[in-house]
Amino acid sequence: MIQTFKRKRIDILVDAPLCDWLIEQAGEAGIAHHSLLPVHSGLGRTGAWRDDDGYGAVPKRMFVVVTNEQKVEALIERIAPDIERYGLVITIFDVEVIRGERF
């Protein structure tokens, strides 16, 4: 049986223009790697949006990181003051990974 390791995955829904900021914050929290998934559309307190709108501040991405608990905490700690005003939707959950040393 292949050994697995307990890590965290953190998925953050974030406005496309704020991605660079988030990547930077992650970097300063020690998170060097990430992936960004496209998001098609959504509905929130500020109304509906869709990727097709194509203009301005609206399109979103899903920022996905696999890492350990400390780094997740460090990232949350850093971005905590901005979560509300940037409208981030954050979910953190337990995952198993294969290459423990990588994450």
């Binding site: 406005d15 500020t46 109304g47 203009y55 501040a57 940037y86």
Partner: protein, 319 residues
């Protein structure tokens, strides 16, 4: 009736079709990559054509004057807008600054649609107006941010990043780059690419405006943050700014077409480059306000009323 004539152009009618379809909640939609492709195309096309025209006409003092005037307008127009947004629309400092940045900057599509109409009416604007437009895109962002937050609040790093965002913005780079390419190649070498960038232009503009109609109307439908006072300013600001633009054009002694184009640049409000910069620099400002005003109110107003108006006023004031 020239005004009515303008509205009968296929370009405008496709915009209306988009508005009607979105209002009726049809599922008609333009895929985002196509919209982005069309806007790359439009920017490359007008950049090239402008450059080729300047290559032909040569550098004139008016090119320089109009460039300076455009940049000044972009820096200054947010001041007046800010005052009105504070006093009349009762926006707080932050949101008023954010909105003001949009009205100092320009809408490329409005410019392109107006140029198309002016050219068809025999008043083609000078080629250098494309460069003027590119120069007007960004100064307003700086004024808007200063108004919103005061200069002290930006760290050096943030300021640098913002400046880069604003100066190296894709549309500025593509417009100025294509303009320089047009300058470099001149009329003769332009011929090989003219079928795509000239002959196809108006037809593709139709598809682009169909999309803009859909987007503007969808945005209006989702505009929970828009009060009637903001909506009213979304119509008053372009009128005021346009009048200022026309006055400046008269001062500079621009010909009717070129002056009308400058007025349209002053009139129009950004909804592509500036919202992205403002979302980054002023995350606490409400995108629902600035996007709705510029995209859902001012943009349609300019396409349907502003352009016909300027087609009349241009020759009357500057002729």
């Amino acid at each position: 009736m020239p005004a009515f004539e303008t509205l009968l152009s296929p370009v405008i009618l496709f915009f209306v079709l988009g508005v009607v379809a979105a209002a009726a909640r049809s599922d008609l939609s333009v895929p985002e990559p196509l919209a982005k492709a069309l806007s790359l195309y439009l920017m490359a096309a007008i950049g090239l054509k402008g450059g080729v025209q300047v290559a032909k006409a040569g550098f004139t003092p008016q090119l320089l004057q109009a460039s300076l005037a455009g940049m000044l307008l972009s820096f200054a127009l947010p001041l007046l807008a800010f005052a009105l947004l504070r006093a009349f629309a009762r926006l707080d400092r932050l949101n008023a600054g954010a909105v003001a940045a949009h009205y100092g900057s320009v809408s490329i599509v409005t410019f392109v649609t107006a140029s198309d109409a002016l050219t068809r009416a025999g008043m083609a604007p000078a080629g250098y107006m494309v460069a003027v437009m590119a120069l007007m895109e960004t100064p307003a962002v700086i004024t808007g941010l200063l108004l919103a937050r005061g200069s002290g609040t930006l760290t050096g790093g943030q300021r640098g990043k913002l400046l880069r965002e604003v100066l190296l913005n894709g549309s500025v780079v593509l417009l100025l780059g294509s303009f320089l390419i047009g300058l470099a190649i001149g009329e003769q070498r332009f011929e090989a690419v003219a079928p795509v960038f000239v002959t196809g232009f108006t037809g593709l503009l139709c598809l682009f405006l169909l999309d803009m109609g859909l987007i503007a109307m969808r945005r209006l439908r989702e505009s929970r943050a828009l009060s009637w006072r903001m909506a009213a300013l979304g119509i008053a600001l372009p009128l005021v700014n346009g009048a200022i633009g026309l006055a400046v054009a008269a001062l500079l002694g621009l010909d009717p077409g070129t002056g009308a184009a400058l007025a349209m640049l002053a009139t129009s409000a950004s909804y592509i480059a500036v919202p992205a910069a403002v979302r980054m620099a002023l995350p606490d400002a409400d995108p629902g306000i600035y996007l709705s005003m510029s995209l859902a109110v001012t943009f349609p107003f300019n396409i349907l009323v502003g352009i016909p108006l300027v087609l009349q006023l241009g020759p009357a004031v500057l002729g």
